[in-house]
Amino acid sequence: MKIIASVISLILILPLMALPSRGAFSYNETFSHIVNTVLSHYVSNTLMLLVLTCFWASLWGVGTAYILSSFKIAKRSLLKVAMMLPFACPGYLLGYYFVDTFQFTFSTRNIFWASFVMGISLYPYVYMSCLAGFSVRNIDLEEASLTLGRSPLYTFFHITLKGIRPYYAAGLGLVCMETLNDYGVADHFAIDTFTTGIYRAWFGFYSLPASVNLSMILLLFTASGLFLESWGRRNKSFYNTTSKMKLLKEKEVSLTNHSLLMIFVLTPFLIGFIFPISYCIKQITVHGGYEYFNSEFLSLLFNSFSMAFIVSFICLALALVNGFSHSLFKNKISRFLIRLSALGYAIPGSIIAIAIIVVFQNVDDLAGKSLVVGGKLLLVYSLVCRFFAVAYENIRSSQEHIPRNLMSYINLQTGSFFKKSKDLYFPYAKAAMLTSFVIVFVDVLKELPATMILSPLNFQTLSVSIYTLASDERLVESAPSALFILLSGLVPLFLLGKKLDKVGLGEN
């Protein structure tokens, strides 16, 4: 099994290994021009955008998750689901709508508003993983802290927040990678970031090597971030020592506080979901967008959903194998490979796509005939490479909460990989599996660059259609597709929402 996990990992990092063959780390005149003139802008803008986006995503993500898991709020279970919905809204779409609505009211195109828009569309990553974390946290510690005279604020920051660190880190990590990877929002808000620079080097200077060089820097940056975080929690454990978990009791709040909390919770939901939905509906009804609900739209819908389903299914299956193997086997090489395999998420989708074409071109050349290039299979593969990390990180963080004595006990037992997985990991991973599936599903629906580059003959998706139309200001034409992407989150999210709600109520 560890061989299978290693092979899976190798397949997933194959595109990363193909990058050097496209000129990474080689001297390049264009690259040195970039280093000498604009690179410092890219770095400072990217860092600024990253920090601000993380701030917004944490504020809404952690804040709402904590409130909804800890306080008695009206319509709590409904809100728990509703808070996830902005997740289905692609950042660039929110960006277009936001700028279109407010451009004459105030100056919208700057880092502040770009990070705000990104924060709103990305906070659900943090929210989802933190909600899971808050729901299984050890309430005893908090009570002890409060009894011993610590303030609620101190307790929140030093006990509660620390306790959910793996969850928070997983969510925030995804936010970081999405931010680093973003092209649409940064481009629309006129901010030169690393990723817009990668595209510029490629499309303007016609220099794929220079853009690959930039991607590699970006990749190293992300990789070191990820390793630092896991190194930071190397000797810490986050599992519960008690076998009996105490039921979380939500605190009562006064009417004023209740309204304040409600406003806080509803803000990101209104901006990230209700605003784009109503914008869309207006385009469809008032401006005649209903004309574009045609057969072409149906084929987009079918393409997008079938692709999303297949990719999320594969990602989940692979993440389970790799996640369980990482815990079960102590073999250093396979563990290292498994960690590496989650890096695909950090590379711009377009670079992955090109790398994959390169890899498969070589495979085709060896085989002497065209096997896969240009087909849908290739697109599936690249999306799996890209989104595997999302599923994997979720599965991994679920394992950190398995009590260690239970883990050692099971590991000592004889039995197959499947039996151990079934008995030990599976029960703990159930919620994470659902989260993984849904996140990957919606991510694939939203994905742009890889889908665009690898698009097979006569194959378009909702997201590509939205982007191409909306970036040309054809917001009316794109509205039906946009509406369905926005609503697409509903189905799987409600499914997931129910489960999460149960977790929240302590029914596991």
Binding site: F203, L208, I310, V358, S455, L457, Y467, T468, L469, E473
Partner: protein, 337 residues
């Protein structure tokens, strides 16, 4: 799982079947008129068009470069000469060898090695707010670095390919040194940080910022034709200037096409090009998008008709492609974002 693998296998086979009577079109254009014309072409010729559409032409070209014959590309259709130049320099195109092209399309709108040809033309022009500046006082691009236009100029980012081509044409016409110097003054005259698309420059002008917007001619056409209240207001005071009329003419760019080097349906590709340069398609193609036809003998009607006989820069378009990387470096050095 079984079903999924079945679906995957089916998808693969579906991809591999490229039969006769077909045309594989790789395009980066996505205007409604393209769809209409393709439909008409299918009806008239009986050839089925398979479409690969990638908005970013460079991505499309990069993919073709790697896939080579496996892409099965018969026609590559894209905007901006830089992209066609790149496709040619990557050896993705084959000579067109069509007599029909020689008579229909002027030579400056064709590749000197016969690898691509223009099907429509657009100019990069100056939209001036005539309530602020007398349009007759501006006649050239070169004037725009004059200090008196400080805080007057609205233009999008230097990442935009239309701007890159404009500057590349200036490098080709005026030389690198002169252009570099000109750029520094020009960038100082910007009314704001470059942002948004061409239409956003017009809107900013309507909103009181700046007085000269650098835009593609068809965007002005689109805005004039817009039924949106706000756009009508924005365009009320706008006059278009086609610069350098007494010199080289206004800078132009094209939508153009070429035949894929490994085109599996070569004859169909030629049939398609013949159709695209037919008078009917030329008129339809240009008018719908407020562009100008590549054919001289096709007259358009409508908003842009009065501009069709303006003087256009006949600098070989190939030179623009060659000079683009140089142009971007100069723009970087002048801190044009």
């Amino acid at each position: 799982m079984k079903n999924i693998s079945k679906i995957l296998v089916f998808m693969m086979f579906a991809m591999c079947s490229i039969a006769a009577g077909e045309l594989n079109l790789y395009t980066s254009r996505h205007y409604p008129v393209d769809k209409e014309i393709l439909k008409d072409f299918e009806k008239e010729s009986g050839i089925k068009v398979n479409l690969v559409y990638i908005k970013k032409a460079s991505q499309l070209i990069e993919r073709l470069k790697i896939q080579k014959e496996k892409a099965g590309a018969d026609i590559i259709l894209t905007v901006d000469v830089g992209n066609l130049w790149k496709a040619a320099s990557y050896n993705l195109l084959q000579p067109l060898k069509m007599k029909e092209l020689d008579s229909a399309i002027p030579s400056h709108l064709k590749d000197k090695n016969d690898l691509w040809a223009a099907i429509s033309v657009r100019a990069r022009v100056l939209a001036v707010n005539k309530s602020k500046i007398d349009p007759s006082t501006i006649t050239t691009y070169e004037q725009l670095n004059d200090e008196k236009y400080k805080d007057k100029i609205l233009i999008r980012s230097s990442s935009n390919v239309y701007n890159q081509s404009l500057i590349a044409s200036m490098v080709a016409n005026n030389g690198e040194e002169k252009t570099s110097k000109w750029l520094k003054g020009f960038v100082k005259n910007f009314a704001r940080k470059p942002q948004g698309g061409d239409r956003d420059q017009l809107r900013a002008m309507g909103n009181g910022q700046g007085a000269i917007a650098v835009v593609n001619s068809y965007y002005a056409g689109k805005m004039w034709a817009s039924k949106k209240e706000s756009d009508i207001k924005v365009m009320k005071d706008v006059e278009l200037i086609f610069p350098n009329q007494s010199g080289r003419g206004a800078h132009i760019n094209i939508s153009g096409l070429g035949i894929g080097k490994y085109a599996p349906n070569l004859e169909n590709a030629r049939t398609f090009i013949k159709y695209m340069i037919s008078k009917k398609a030329q008129k339809q193609f240009a008018e719908a998008n407020f562009e100008f036809p590549a054919r001289k003998d096709v007259k358009i009607t409508g908003l842009m008709a009065k501009f069709q006989d303006m003087k256009f820069d006949q600098l070989s378009l190939t030179k623009i492609g060659e000079n683009t990387p140089k142009a971007i470096k100069l723009m970087d050095l002048a801190s044009w974002r």
